[in-house]
Amino acid sequence: MKSLWKKYKQNKLVQGILLLIYISITSLSLFMAQKSVTAFLLLLSSLLLLYFTNFKNLTKWLIAGIVLVFLLPFTASNGDAYQSYMEVATLVGIYISMALGLNIVVGMAGLLDLGFIAFFAVGAYTYGIFATVQASNFMPFGTFPLSGESFWLFILIGCFVAALFGILLGIPVLRVKGDYLAIVTLGFGEIIRIIFNNLDRPVNITNGAMGIPSVTPPRLFGIDFLYPSQFYYIVLVILLFTIFTVRRFEHSKIGRSWKAVRENEIAAQAMGVPLVRTKLMAFAIGASFSGMMGVVFAAKQAFVDPTSFTLLESITILVMVILGGMGSVPGVILGAAVMTILNLQVLTEVTSWLNQLNSTGAFSIPDALSPSKMQRLIFGLLLILFALYRPKGLLPAKNHVYNEKELQEGSAKENKGKQEVMPDHSQIEKAQEV
């Protein structure tokens, strides 16, 4: 059995065939079935399978691209539940992007941020205010709502405004460390929410607890984006951009500075890492992804109100990062996908199934125990269990481990003017599933 597994691990052809069979079976069943959450989830998990194959990075990306861009929307479009699948897929994308942002702050730079949802709120409100008549309450010039074309510009604006807020938060908290930082960011998140909740007086900016209704949908070449199936592609593009940027940052100078600061601040400073700039960069970049997705979220929901930005949401994103593995990009993507699907699909499905059982009288479960209300319990348990037994998460972060001998030989060879021997990059930097 073990040798068979080993053979499988090495044989690319078998892996490819198995993956192909898996994808075709799941997509076929999704295509045939009118409404099958299982098939949908199985098709998504083919990406995880893909991650564990031995293909080259480029091949993996291509296959993932084909599955996500063509196969998934196409096979799902046959059933009635098309839009609800796409809704879930869109939200998964949004959460993955946010979790990647938080991953920079918590996972790479080691700054525990418990108010991360605030940046998402900032992004959402930025678009929400200007894409409705709300802005005419305080803007002396211009006609509001702005047209749907401005959405594309607002993705950038949301990104910058959130980054600005990230820096604004960062400057005061630079002096506090560790646990204090967590509390201060938590307070900051709550402050932002309370302010948005009460900023209907003296000037009505956010319309308070009532929220901002009927946000203008994005528009491109005369087409309004109204359905989740359309937003799916926007999210996919931004997500790709996010993953690409995060990967680039991770292996750049700033990425290595973040990790140095995480491991030991004083040592990092002594080695010449500029502490202030590094930390501020982490806050700003992490926040900017969140801000972009906030804009998309506001446009998708066509409604913004403060209840979407509670502490529970911040913790949800933290759970995604911890579950996947702090600092690990593929891990965080997996964690975010698992948590979002668990939240949106599994819990609601189980609840409705239990309700059915209740109504047929098979057995009864009190309303207080309905799984869709158990979010906190599940999050709490996951946090505790993972922190205790698997602090590195589902897919732990891989750090470059340089073989000292090889490096010395390499530099020796280099000195002789020969080819440099470096560790095998393709082995270390495995690409992630999307």
């Binding site: 080691g110 560790g178 402050i191 009460n198 009190p366 319990l377 709490g380 946090l383 505790i384 205790l388």
Partner: protein
Amino acid sequence: MLNEILQTIPQVVIDGLTLGAVYAVIALGYTMVYGILELINFAHGEIFMSGAFIGTAILIVLTGMGWVSAVPAIVMLITVLLLTAILTGLLGMGIERVAYRPLRNAPRLIPLITAIGISFLLQDIVRFIAELQKGNYIVTGPNLFKDQLSIKASSISSIFNDASIKTSFVIVLVTAVIMMIGLDLFINRTKWGMAMRAVAQDRETASLMTVNVNKVISITFFIGSALGGATGVLFAVQYGTIDPYIGFILGLKAFTAAVLGGIGNIRGAMLGGLLLGLLEMFASANLTLLSGGVFGAEYKDVFAFAILIIVLLFKPEGLLGKPVTEKV
């Protein structure tokens, strides 16, 4: 404007002291644990909340058995306080054993994360039980002390308005003060208190001096949580209605109080709590007036957090704490 503010002062002081006493006793729990482990026990607010629910449950059960009317209310309260304190104390010890002890040598982020997990877990478990038993997670306990007192502050000076207080206020304040003095004596005068101070100062050296470090930490958690739980009962008695989510914001403010007084410093926590309670009540009574209607009382939470951030920025050691330099 000054006149209007002065008029409300007696009421503000009384409400502020009540709230401040609650903050102060909860802040003690944070400060004790921080002093000994350098860990922010995030779940402490939830222990307070559990205390409020346990106390209310005991009261409801006893009322059902008809005992409440038979004995004087004050005896009743003391019984409930003691029972709840023991139960929440054990809860705190259990949490430390399960969630913090295995992680004592882990990176500092990790125990903080389990603490958040524990606090979510407690919130939901309490919600289950309350919802299963009563159908709704917002619970109103039986009213033990119904009398209203009135302080004739206007007889001192005509500037002040009269303040009205519930009898429970006196009880909350007195109990809180007794708890604080008791704790102060325990820490400074007893052998176990000395052991606690030793462990707080240097865990390894203390263990070389035959102090049982694990036991001392357990006791610290027991006392901190017992105080927190007892305050929960006082809170339920004073404010009547409780829900599983009160612990979070209140815990956060108590933490602010602990930081304000100087974290790790027991007397600082008491001072910080009372000060924060007074400031917050003053803010919620007068913010509208002071800002000309721009900010209302709903910003009082923002006010408390702002104090936290300002203290951390400009005087991170707090009012009574000593500045620490980081050891490399």
